[in-house]
Symmetry: C2
Subunit: 124 residues, 2 copies
Amino acid sequence: MSKNNLEKYLDADNCPVRNVLDRIGDKWSVLVILLLGDADTLRFNEIHKYIGTISQKMLTVTLKKLEADDLIHREIYPQIPPKVEYNLTERGKSLLPNLKNLVSWANEHMVEIKSARATALTSS
Amino acid sequence: MSKNNLEKYLDADNCPVRNVLDRIGDKWSVLVILLLGDADTLRFNEIHKYIGTISQKMLTVTLKKLEADDLIHREIYPQIPPKVEYNLTERGKSLLPNLKNLVSWANEHMVEIKSARATALTSS
DNA sequence: CAGCATCCGGGCAGATACTG
DNA sequence: CAGTATCTGCCCGGATGCTG
């Protein structure tokens, strides 16, 4: 491929990669999507428990962003105590295979990458 | 899939997804990898020019991280003025298809997502 | 040309306390 | 239970200036 069609990466606002990465590139989104992909439906505190290290605040923010992009669906049950369930939308499900591929790649290469990093560190 | 095998997502250090995303999930890494995937070999200032909005500092940081993970190769020509060329390693190339899939997905869904975001905004 | 060193501001993210 | 509100600290990342 020549260098002539590289301009597509330049326009940050309209560059699809950038647009998607700005959302799922954060610390937790992918994790939540994978989790919901496996579990189908989860309540707020279930997600919180599974991820463990995420704060309540960041989980709320993450879920809202994903909901705004229509990647997850939020079902509210008007009860006391309240009950809210989350699951993937069709669009969220369509993203899932791509993420799973990335997971597979990560699984295959993680060990090598870790050792590469270690080497890079000691040589500095 | 049951909830029983969700524990794999919990250990942040050894979770492959987390490990990969911690690296390529930043603002520029994916862009650089895609760029080098298209262009084969680029010099520092060529990358700088193509991305445009990246600062010199962040480009340096990004390239070093990618090099530490052995995703890109750095070839230094001992000349004056100096010349440094970057290209993908085999490992970097193996990641490329996964990223391209993500790009395709992004291309297909960007418009819908943007309108979903707009709706989410006006309803708040 | 290809960086490195330094300074600095804004926003992300954690901790804590409170609520329907 | 599933959040909100607020305060705060810290790190990311931009701008600038300097080097081999």
